[in-house]
């Protein structure tokens, strides 16, 4: 498998089976941030069908992200429900995931959910009142991928998705 192929299809035309399976997998959400799908997050790298087995390749956001096991289980369950019984979920680390892989749509959904999307820490806007220069309370937040900030204007504490 070509681990650098982030599109899932590459130059080879994906089969209908693979396209259908990808649609199913792409709807799986991050259990910690349920407004984001794994496709929005850039965690989903590829879906292929090899000898009747759906091979899903995903990549962790952080080394120890505990959501990865849940995501794997959810992918398997979603595929089983759609009639794909032979499923293999591959975890690849290379190339390493970065927040640049979060889609535009993902950024919008994060902000709507009250999480400041990844950007340079100086450019973070309060997701509630959009004022700038919030204060970083802690570089470490409720999950490995987030930091805790507080808005200097409206006083709202919020999570910021660390640019990484």
């Amino acid at each position: 498998m070509d681990a650098t192929d982030l599109s899932g299809g590459g130059v080879v035309m994906p089969t209908k089976e693979a396209t259908d399976a990808r649609q199913v997998v792409a709807r799986v959400v991050d259990p910690e941030i349920p407004v984001l799908t794994i496709e929005d997050l850039g965690v989903l790298r590829s879906v292929e069908v090899v000898d009747g087995t759906v091979v899903v390749t995903i990549t962790p956001t952080y080394s120890g992200c505990p959501a990865m096991k849940q995501i794997e289980d959810d992918i398997v369950e979603a595929l089983h429900r759609s009639g794909n019984h032979d499923v293999l979920v591959n975890n690849v680390f290379f190339p390493a995931w970065t927040t640049d892989w979060i889609t535009k749509e993902g950024h919008r959904k994060l902000a709507d959910f009250g999480i400041a999307p990844p950007t340079s820490p100086d450019a973070v806007l309060c997701p509630r009142c959009a004022s700038d220069h919030p204060r970083m309370v802690s570089r470490f937040g409720s999950t490995a991928c987030k930091a805790l900030m507080v808005c200097s204007s409206c006083g709202e504490p919020f999570d910021y998705f660390k640019a990484h």
Binding site: Y62, S63, P95, A96, R139, F140
Partner: protein, 252 residues
């Protein structure tokens, strides 16, 4: 601190009974696994909620690295052992982590100094391993280097605050440095990557800014890389492994 004095293995002695590649993967995995366990011991006990969360985050990062490397090590060994078998069913003599990471948490200063020494090391290690021919190791390292940077900013910040803080915090930080310094030489026992100079530079800059001094006691202790540990590791493993030892094969 009351360490059992262990007979010191010759410096850099390989373990001829173990495949060198497997041994090296275990050494890196074990550093992260054991440190993750120690950091986890802070959860619910750290001085502030934010520190509690930070240390818990570090533990997760280190645990994630350990899991990936152990899984890979199991595949390299090809004896049917997976990451859980390697983490939960090896004895202390089969662990190859640095003695530094198994040292007890002590007070907050001891934990921070230990973390700082490791962060300075991992900031040399991961960029080097990120260019490894082994694609799994390279991928894990490329991810870990960003995490090490976060850890370093935190531990360095506390080194400065403690060293250059109150009399009490300064004494505690210097005491922790004095206690743990003898475990730092082991990091560079087999310094093929030439990490020592980068490490020395980070330590030197921070110590100078923090008003801390490098101990002049030349005594150094080693053995972790060949499986000779301080007594602390046995207690740690007892706690970490008891569930699997008591209920073999249990899953949840």
């Amino acid at each position: 601190m009351s360490d059992v004095t262990v007979s010191r293995a010759p410096q850099g002695m390989p373990r001829p009974d173990i495949d060198p590649r497997f041994h090296k993967l275990l050494a890196h995995a074990d550093d992260n696994l054991i440190l993750a366990h120690r950091l986890g011991e802070w959860i619910s006990k750290a001085p502030e909620l934010e520190i509690d969360i930070a240390l818990g985050n570090f533990a997760l990062d280190h645990l994630g690295v350990a899991r990936s490397l152990l899984q890979h090590a199991g595949q390299i060994e090809d004896e049917g052992r997976d990451e859980d078998d390697l983490a939960m069913l090896r004895t202390d003599r089969e662990f190859f982590n640095l003695l530094l990471v198994e040292q007890p948490n002590g007070d907050f200063a001891h934990s921070i100094v230990r973390q700082f020494f490791i962060d300075c090391y991992q900031l040399q290690l991961w960029p080097d391993l990120a260019t490894s021919d082994d694609i799994v190791v390279a991928g894990v390292a490329a991810k870990a280097v960003k995490e090490a940077d976060y850890h370093f900013r935190f531990s360095r910040g506390w080194m400065l605050r403690m060293g250059d803080g109150t009399d009490e915090s300064h004494v505690r930080a210097q005491t922790a440095v004095n206690d743990l310094w003898r475990f730092t030489g082991e990091i560079f026992e087999d310094d093929n990557g030439g990490y020592r100079s980068g490490w020395d530079q980070l330590i030197g800059e921070t110590f100078e800014e923090a008003g801390l001094s490098i101990p002049d006691d030349p005594y150094q202790k080693a053995g972790g890389r060949v499986g000779y540990h301080t007594e602390h590791l046995g207690y740690l493993l007892t706690e970490m492994q008891w569930m699997q030892r008591t209920y073999p094969g249990v899953e949840w």
